[in-house]
Symmetry: C2
């Protein structure tokens, strides 16, 4: 693997998360039309934003835009940073009870002083389009129907797009967070992969990583995964989004994988930005359509079923 | 590792599940006394047995005996094999509502025609001492307080007894059932192990297995795991209990591991029977004490906290 990669080789290895997300958005839009035809109203996603964190505001704005672009209804609830815990919980309960709301997303992190766990666990499982409640996590373990977390679902989608059927592939997930690492491991297991969960206490992480057909990097440490950690031809899904100092004092985004090194060895790799990132909202839209269908006891549209993991 | 193992060497390698279970039973008994002192009544476990499967009857009888031997109250509810689904669900609901019942266990499998999933998912999570509800599985993923499944908990206990702190150990779990494989993987992850989940679709299972410091065999295939699958010195926890034809037409119990081969290479190994088997009821008793404490909002007794996994 000492060849210099030409730009066309490199392009062939890149997994285009923007294009994949656009395809999932389109599937969600198709599903939303079917739901609207069946119910007389489109699926509706309610987003709760507490406080004025600039990054959260950008995310929420993007979610709202893409929800509407997919032909769904987007409702935003903004609460001040000094809102009481009881008021946040009460809002979630009101959204639980509102029959016109199919999906509820609480933008995280919440401002300091609020109990994030209690707020999230208040969400009704059938409206938990982020897949973060204990009920959703349990359904994932049991292989029962339920909402799967969006970023792990997007990671599976991209790996399948690169490799096709994943049966028998060995997957190493680096990072064991409840948002990404653990659900990603369970989702790849459901794809019949042999899955290893590695983390900060793992012995000889490079050697563990080198055995993987598919590497999922989800630790939040810039450029942690080096080129020689990657088995030649492996598929690298970089979930990390880290802001680092760039040239001339400007900051830039990098992943958990040293991209310039890894692309020389990998068979497929997601860039940061433009890889897993755009998939998260795409899967949120697909989940919202599925939630609307299940709540109304109509079939989940095939277009949406096809893009969601098992 | 070509030395012939003398009987004393072999004995040193054996993990004595009966002795470990007796220690956990004693811890549960100690905890039960504390609960009785605090609440004026001992913890109570209700067992539901449907039909007349002989093996299930033996299990239920053993559970009842050990529950009472640990100073707890045991209640058995027997229903005929032709009972309706609605009646089984109604019984579980009545036990959910009965404030004198701390733990509910439905003996599985249920007779054909009954919906096992619906029955199990009816159990209140705070009385789910078998750890089988979606809420319990979700709590395990999220690292939240909750009931952990008994056989996986027993496996962790035995591995810790053999090796001490498990941080950084590589664990290979063979089998991905919702009763054992998946929860065992999550429990060993919580012990800071690097965990690989392998199964029937895994490529080159012997090679995967040979990398493990700890092998958990939970597939239900007699003698599947051979001696040369085991890294020298590794700890082997055999969850399988398979009845096979023995000599003179008599049946005998064997595990998923070829014990006679594996003991030559392993550093520690559980026998079948007398290994993981006795631990399952022991952990059930510990869970019942913990359930009684949490329901009454008193501290879980230290003796019980010490034997339960994280």
């Amino acid at each position: 693997m000492t060849d210099i990669i030409t730009s066309s080789d490199a392009a062939a290895k890149l997994i285009d998360g923007k294009a994949a997300a656009a395809a999932v958005d389109a599937a969600a839009a198709d599903g939303a039309r079917q739901i609207e035809a069946a119910l007389g109203r489109p699926p509706c996603l309610a987003v709760v934003l507490v406080g004025d964190d600039p990054a959260s505001q950008v995310y929420v704005r993007n979610k709202g835009r893409r929800t509407e672009a997919a032909g769904m209804r987007s409702v935003e609830h903004r609460l001040p940073a000094d809102v009481s815990q009881a008021d946040v919980v009460a809002l979630v309960q009101a959204l639980n009870a509102d029959d016109g709301v199919d999906g509820i997303l609480v933008q995280l992190p919440l401002p300091a002083g609020l109990d994030e766990t209690e707020v999230v666990q208040t969400i009704r499982p059938d409206k938990d389009v982020d897949g973060l409640t204990a009920q959703s996590a349990g359904a994932l373990v049991l292989g029962a129907p339920g909402m799967r977390p969006c970023t792990p679902s997007g990671s599976v989608f991209l790996a399948k797009q690169a490799l096709g059927d994943l049966t028998g592939k060995s997957v190493v997930v680096i990072g064991r967070s409840i948002l990404v690492g653990k659900p990603a491991a369970l989702l790849f297991l459901a794809e019949n992969c042999t899955v290893t969960l590695a983390h900060s206490r793992t012995q000889d992480l490079p050697a563990v990583c080198r055995q993987a057909d598919i590497v999922i990097a989800a630790v939040g440490r810039p450029n942690l995964v080096k080129g020689d950690w990657i088995k030649p031809g492996a598929c690298v899904i970089d979930v990390g989004i880290n802001r680092v100092e760039g040239e001339a004092g400007k900051s830039r985004l990098v992943g958990d994988v040293d991209f310039d090194q890894a692309i020389e060895t990998a068979g497929f790799i997601t860039p940061v930005p433009g890889g897993v990132g755009p998939m998260t909202i795409a899967m949120l839209l697909a989940n919202t359509v599925a939630a609307a269908a299940r709540r109304a006891k109509v079939s989940v549209p095939d277009s949406v079923k096809d893009v969601l993991p098992g």
